[in-house]
């Protein structure tokens, strides 16, 4: 029997090989095909002609309606990020500082339930809640706060709430470990030096937790601008965001070159922000060492 000798340096690559192959086959190659399509010429009726032209890109970047879609997407991303940050930071703080591990794991479980629920179920849940005859409107009417049902559904506000619900865990799980890494004695030292709770938060806790805030915010923003199902189901036909626009181009009017070009633009934004997130996490490493 012969024994095959594997050089030690090859071992990590061998272990990574299956997942790398899978990613290359089902992720990298479709993206590469889309990248190539984005330079093709489109003909009405779904035809496309192989070429190397930039007109798909210039068409998007010079048209105010298309730029409006990009703007809507960014505004949606900022709103969802802001809501997640406002709801998530206090939650992350209380979970990081609780002395009871049982309370922490219970809190994390509740937090993660939306992630474990199918996007369809979650979105239809919101459809029921937000409908004009739904529980929220009925409660508002019963309390006399409004005279007639509010239009909650198929509006950007509904999309913000629904996305914030599912993306909140990403924010909390980015901030919580950073807060846990802050020595509680730092807050006590600050208090002993005469700083009240608000000053202590502003001067010590907040600055030291910024790497987590940056990482969580970028993650939530990226996931929001690339979300498709929730904006489509909860936002309805009136919500114009990049992902829905791309879908309509590719599968609605069969303009694959244009859809591909818009996909590439969205991908560029996402890659840029992911790179920034990596930088923020590096910053956390430096902060933690101090």
């Amino acid at each position: 029997m012969t024994r095959r000798v594997v050089p030690p340096s090859a071992v990590p690559w061998l272990l990574l090989a299956p997942i790398l192959a899978l990613l290359a086959l089902f992720f990298v190659s479709p993206v590469a095909i889309l990248a190539r399509f984005s330079f093709y010429l489109a003909r009405p009726g779904g035809q496309m002609i192989p070429a190397w032209v930039l007109q798909n890109y210039t068409r998007f970047l010079t048209d105010s309606f298309h730029l409006g879609v990009l703007w809507n997407t960014i505004v949606l991303g900022l709103w969802v990020t802001a809501v997640c940050l406002i709801l998530g930071y206090p939650l992350a703080y209380s979970l990081a500082r609780t002395r009871s591990t049982r309370r922490r794991s219970l809190g994390l479980t509740i937090l993660l339930i939306p992630l474990m629920t199918s996007v369809v179920v979650r979105s239809y849940g919101w459809l029921i809640l937000l409908a004009s005859s739904g529980p929220i409107n009925r409660l508002l009417l019963a309390l006399g706060l409004v005279d007639h049902p509010l239009q909650l559904l198929f509006k950007p506000q509904g999309v913000v709430v629904a996305l914030a619900e599912v993306l909140l865990p990403f924010m909390v799980l980015s901030i919580m470990p950073v807060l846990q890494g802050i020595d509680p004695h730092l807050e006590e030292a600050s208090q002993s030096l005469g700083a009240g709770p608000i000053q202590t938060f502003r001067q010590v806790v907040l600055p030291l937790s910024l790497p987590g805030v940056a990482a969580g915010s970028i993650l939530v923003f990226v996931l929001t601008i690339s979300a498709f199902a929730t904006p489509r189901l909860v936002g309805g036909a009136t919500t114009h965001v990049m992902s829905i626009f791309i879908y309509d181009q590719a599968l609605g009017v069969f303009n694959w070159p244009f859809g591909s070009a818009v996909s590439m633009l969205l991908l560029l934004v996402v890659l840029g922000l992911t790179w920034l997130q990596g930088r923020a996490l590096e910053g956390r490493g430096i902060g933690g060492a101090g």
């Binding site: 006590e188 030292a189 002993s192 030096l193 005469g194």
Partner: protein, 366 residues
């Protein structure tokens, strides 16, 4: 006037009582060490003074004013933590200036006071460094400067030296003591290291299981331990069990369980038959070889040297007495003699240096 008064302070966590009815007064400029094994409640007591823990009962008074209901940031205290707790995102200068900025001290005065504080701890050249760029000893100094720059009424130390290496710890002991003397701030120093407590403090509070075992000067604590716990916790001690066999005049005669008959120091009358223990410090024992004469008025046991531990300035001998007792003897080392293992020796001590404790009293004191 006392800068700090603790009256009947009690604190429990769930069912565990961390501190029982604790009373203490610390005068202006006084250095008090809280000494005890881990979990004895010394750190909890410190945290009650700082305001990080609310006592279940009792009162904390700082400068004559009740502070029990005040939050930490209104208590006018300086605290140095074991981990130093320097703000990692601030320079040395900003760390030290933090308390002054919170007190809205004018800029010029602030700069002047920070400079003085950094000079006090010999760090004036490092004010633009970040804590992670400093050694452990330097971080410790910054923490001290940050705590004293606000001129607190009470200065608190929570095991501040335990993260330093032995040599640096010795140096910092002296330095902290000097600093505290020159600033004359009432100070509480929590430690489990008896050497630290004995060498630095004006008064030592020995704690065990949430209670005060003894309060006294370092000399009192060491020479006249008030309870068996203090005796066992502070320094080494030879303890011989036995009973009082007879009383001759003012003195009792102690019969060790091993059979040896030993004279007791003159003291309160004890009745023959009283069981108890005889305690004597290793450094009070004399090691005598065959050619040496026993000084008058001494008890004496014969035995053999079993182990010798030479430590430079001192030498430790473990002696197995013929009676069966095991005795530890400390002798001056240095250039002195070194008795070899296996040599027959006599161990002698002046009767006055030993303490007899009747068994009943021993149980009551624990």
């Amino acid at each position: 006037m006392s800068q700090l008064i603790l009256k009947g302070v009690r604190k429990s966590f769930g069912k565990t009582v961390a501190v029982h009815d604790f009373d203490l007064e610390v005068a202006q400029g006084e250095f008090v060490a809280l000494l005890g094994p881990s979990g004895c409640g010394k750190t909890t007591t410190l945290r009650v003074v700082a305001g990080f823990e609310r006592p279940d009962a009792g009162e904390v008074r700082i400068r004559g004013e009740s502070a029990t209901d005040k939050p930490p940031y209104r208590r006018d205290i300086g605290i140095v933590f074991q981990s130093y707790a320097l703000f990692p995102h601030m320079t040395v200068l900003d760390n030290v200036a933090y308390g002054l900025r919170m007190r809205k001290v004018p800029r010029g005065e602030c700069r002047e006071r920070v400079r003085t504080a950094l000079q006090l701890v010999h760090l004036e050249r490092l004010d633009d460094r970040y804590p992670r760029q400093l050694s452990g000893g330097q971080q410790q100094r910054v923490a001290v400067a940050r705590a004293v720059v606000i001129r607190p009424s009470v200065l608190l130390f929570d095991e501040p030296l335990s993260n330093l290496d032995a040599r640096l710890r010795q140096e910092m002991r002296r330095e902290l003591r000097q600093l505290q003397r020159s600033l004359r701030i009432a100070t509480i120093f929590v430690t489990h290291d008896q050497e630290e407590a004995l060498s630095m403090a004006d008064r030592v509070v020995v704690m065990n299981a949430g209670r005060i075992e003894q309060v006294g000067t370092p000399e009192e604590i060491y020479a006249r331990p008030a309870s068996p716990f203090v005796l066992a916790f502070i320094g080494e001690c030879n303890i011989l069990p036995g009973t009082i066999s007879a009383v001759e005049g003012e003195r009792g005669v102690f019969a060790a369980a091993s059979g040896a008959k030993l004279r007791l120091p003159p003291g309160p009358a004890v009745r023959p038959g009283t069981p108890g223990t005889l305690a004597i410090r290793p450094e009070d024992l004399l090691l005598l070889t065959a050619e040496q004469v026993t000084p008058p008025g001494c008890n004496e046991l014969t035995g053999t040297v079993t182990t010798v531990t030479y430590l430079g300035s001192v030498c430790h001998y473990q002696i197995r007495a013929e009676s069966g007792d095991s005795l530890l003897v400390y002798e001056q080392g240095g250039r002195g003699r070194r008795v070899a293992e296996g040599i027959s020796v006599r161990v002698a001590w002046r009767a006055e240096l030993a303490t007899f404790r009747p068994e009943a009293a021993g149980e009551g004191g624990a």
